[in-house]
């Protein structure tokens, strides 16, 4: 019954209707706030991949990223009336996802600290597996991607978020400013500094 209901809702998505009119995100959330669940499905379809990629840059784990995005979408469903059209819908949703990703990171840090504190001295001497470049082009590009991702992980938190939003998610500066809650000038400056720091990290590797 529930499965059937779920698939019905998936099929009801507004993007499956052959209409030339395309709803904006703000129109969709307004419809959802008025009880139209098809609008919710449409929003989920629009943002799930983008958000998974965004969260993945923080967590580096696909399954966990998907879980965080599920939580984000669930929050969107439960707290739909909290959205007011004073901000763009995308910035609101990205903010929720970012906060949940940060919470997950904090949990992970606590777990890691606990695990390390329980280890014996010998157990603490471990080695990270080295990533070796292969000859194939696809493998090579995968290797470069991993290097970039690990270089992003070395950035301070306030640099990491803005560079992911700008250079991977390709969001406009205004939106980034709203998501991280700092002035536009600060965002531009942070992005520039993050790019320079990333270049310094990668110059010997790529």
């Amino acid at each position: 019954m529930m499965r059937q209901n779920s698939s019905n809702l998936s099929d009801m998505s507004l993007d499956k209707q052959n209409t030339p009119f395309v709803y904006t995100d703000e129109q969709l959330i307004a419809r959802f706030q008025n009880g139209d669940e098809r609008a919710y499905i449409e929003l989920v379809n629009r943002y799930r991949d983008r958000l998974i990629n965004f969260v993945f840059q923080f967590l580096g784990d696909r399954e966990q990223s998907e879980d965080v995005v599920q939580d984000t979408m669930l929050k969107l469903y439960v707290k739909k009336h909290y959205y007011r059209e004073i901000a763009k819908f995308s910035t609101w949703l990205y903010t929720i996802a970012r906060n949940l990703a940060n919470t997950e990171l904090r949990k992970r840090k606590r777990r890691k600290t606990t695990l390390l504190s329980h280890m014996t001295r010998d157990e603490k001497d471990y080695e990270l597996p080295a990533i070796q470049p292969d000859t194939g082009a696809e493998v090579q590009s995968e290797f470069v991607e991993k290097l970039i991702q690990s270089a992003i992980q070395t950035l301070p938190e306030h640099f990491k978020t803005v560079i992911i939003l700008r250079d991977i998610q390709e969001l406009p500066y205004d939106d980034i400013s709203s998501i991280v809650g700092v002035p536009l000038g600060t965002v531009k400056s942070r992005i520039n500094r993050a790019r320079l720091q990333l270049q310094a990290e990668l110059k010997d590797l790529i």
Binding site: V78, R195, I206
Partner: protein, 179 residues
Amino acid sequence: MNRYQFEDLISEYIENELSLSKRKEFETYLEENPDALDLVESVRSNMTRMKSIHRIKASPDFNDRLLARIQTNRAQLDRPTASQRTYFGFTPIHASLMTGLVIAMVFVSMQLFAPEEGGIPSQAQHFVNETLPTLSNPSLQKVNPPQPDFVNAEEDSAMEDQKQKSQQDFSKKMHFVND
């Protein structure tokens, strides 16, 4: 333009956000400093690499799992929690407070108005007995001695005078020895 000013403007230069004059100044600096040009090219290529990072797609059952979670969540939301349950329209806290208040009022009223029927006198009766002054209670009379009656005082004194006069008129009472 110095090195710091150059580094601050790299992103704006790459994204074509510099004014014409600033752009010319920046390009002059690049021509004079080949290492600066290398840095700009390196940042530019990193930006391109980041844009072309492989995009992950959500798993095919993402929506189904999400909607199943929503159904579960909805069921939980529909079920009233302990704090949402009501008794005769009162929340549990208010209901218990009201019950306590009613019991207290009944107890107090029973103590105040219950008739004393030969048995143990009520506390209220004790209170009345102890505090109300009675004429038969000499200790309380000491506390509140009777005030003099100034209205009848004059009459009393006139009678007193007459009594004294009658006592002083010894003519009728006197008998001479020879009589």
